[in-house]
Amino acid sequence: MIKYLIEKEFKQIFRNLIIPKIIVALPLMAMLVFPWAANHEIKNINVDIVDNDHSAYSKRLINKIAASSYFVLSCVSSDNAEALKNVESGQTDIILEIQPDFEKHLTVERIANVMISANGVNGMKGILSASYMSGIVDEFASELNSEQISTAANRPTINVVPHNLFNVFMDYKVFMLPALIVMLLTVICGFLPALNIVSEKESGTIEQINVTPVGKFAFIISKLIPYWLIGFFVLNFCLILIALVYGLTPAGNIFTIYFFSAVYILAVSGIGLVISNYSENMQQSMFTIFFFIIVMILMSGLFTPVASMPQWAQNITIINPLKYFIQVMRMIFLKGSAPPHLTEQFATLCCFALIFNIWAVLSYRKCK
């Protein structure tokens, strides 16, 4: 019996004018465009420099800043007030003020002050640009130190050389891509089932099904399996795309990824089906699944780390299946984690899959 129902689902999906196209277009978009857009590295920071010294050293520092790929030297103002006006008007993101006698202090006292003022409207951008700027100033200082090593009294300097584990070049894309795959699976395998049963309600075809002896379990399975296969197609499509375009392949075993995806897709499709069962029309169902997916994505650690959320928000993420799968994907992709390290996530995802699908079977009512 299930065979005929699944056959019917596939015919309907492939005859749909839009769905098959979206199933191909979304992964392309998500894999080729999003990683460049969803990037936390801040570049092209407009910097305004107030140079009160006009010395050789101050010029050198300015050149160094202008040469960095992070900063664009937007203007050189004569005083701090003028620079602040530029910040207000939005032309400038950060001000570097060089004190008078900068060079003199450096050579004589070996200490000089600069002031960094960053626009904090976008907190993240402000903090990052200020820290990039102080990095450059530090570098400038140690350059001066090493030049004078032979002449002046030696100062011990400690150089911290960062070594980043797992993502050696701190490439944001490598961090985002595995998580974007998860987001994609959530959107495709969550939305489509959510709209499925309710569309049968709207067209009235569910009535003809409800009057047959078709089992509730068989009916739900027949709705799940097509999305499960579509999910696998999307997953493989993404894996191939990122291998070809970014040269990124999972550090761990690909079968671990398949294994987890199999469970995860069932869980999100289950959520979709539950919503579909409770909705009376497409509008309700669309709106509800949209609400849940937005919340799940924003609270998953996809863009912002869960660990930096307040405790109450972290408590909410405990019931977010997306969070666990994103953790798993990043761990497999970047660290090459094997199943023994992922048992907690696996157990949790299995629970979600079971709960939502049992709920979907129970909430599907053939008789009111």
Partner: protein
């Protein structure tokens, strides 16, 4: 003694404080064509949905094909066919695909499906439309297809909810021929209609007014009882006292 296919005792359905179906008692016998008449809003569809196991009775009892409609809905469903008022086959499937789907759901053997599909399509004159998407064919053909799907698995009884609504007279006539053929095959037919000429085609009819069955007998007896020339007059006389319908 002819066996009863449908039997209800004080069957009632309430929605809040509105009583859609009010204590109906009904016996339908094997092989009958039973006309279930009533004005709009009289409660026909609600009663039919209860008999099909789509809706739970609020009180009273009902048996269809020997199964309790309140407790054994899934068993009831194995022995009935149903054609709803609103066309509800899959419009995005082809004609043969709809037949195959429902045949498969009723566990018809795979090799039987193909042969039987051919004979059914020949019977309703849709052989050439076999590969047409259902949304592309006219309403009259859709109705014939829906009927064929409803009786494909040889149910004990088939429920037809206004099967000829919006269909032209020639197709309507052809449709009734199909109903007679099904009845000749031993399938009991339970049909609602608003066309009183169709009521004359039934072996027995009941007329529902405001959720209650006001009359139940053969068309001939009803005409005599209400001193009327045809079923149309019988219907008018009974429906006049209705309080909740929209067309008096």
């Amino acid at each position: 003694m002819i066996s009863k296919v449908i039997e209800t005792r004080n069957l009632t359905k309430r929605f809040g404080d509105f009583t859609a179906v009010d204590n109906i008692n009904l016996d339908v016998f094997k092989g009958e064509i039973f006309g279930f008449l009533g004005a709009n809003g009289a409660g026909k569809t609600t009663a039919m949905r209860m008999l099909c196991g789509l809706s739970k009775p609020t009180s009273g009892q009902g048996f269809v094909a020997g199964f309790d409609i309140a407790r054994q809905q899934e068993d009831v469903k194995k022995h009935i066919g149903y054609m709803s008022q609103k066309f509800s086959l899959y419009e995005d499937l082809k004609v043969w695909e709809n037949i195959r789907l429902f045949a498969g759901i009723y566990r018809t053997k795979n090799h039987e499906i193909a042969a039987k599909t051919d004979s059914v399509l020949a019977k309703i004159g849709l052989s050439s439309e076999r590969n047409a998407l259902v949304k592309k064919i006219p309403l009259g053909w859709k109705q014939k297809l829906a009927f064929s799907v409803a009786v494909f698995h040889n149910p004990a009884i088939v429920f037809l909810d206004e099967p000829t609504g919006g269909v032209d007279p020639v197709t309507r006539r052809r449709f009734w021929e199909l109903i007679y053929e099904a009845a000749a095959d031993g399938i009991t037919v339970f049909v609602t209609t608003h066309y009183m000429d169709e009521a004359e085609y039934c072996n027995r009819v009941s007329i529902m007014v405001d959720g209650k069955i006001e009359a139940i007998d053969t068309p001939q007896h009803l005409r005599r009882q209400f001193n009327a020339n045809n079923m149309d007059e019988v219907f008018r006389k009974l429906a006049r006292k209705a309080e909740r319908n929209d067309n008096g």
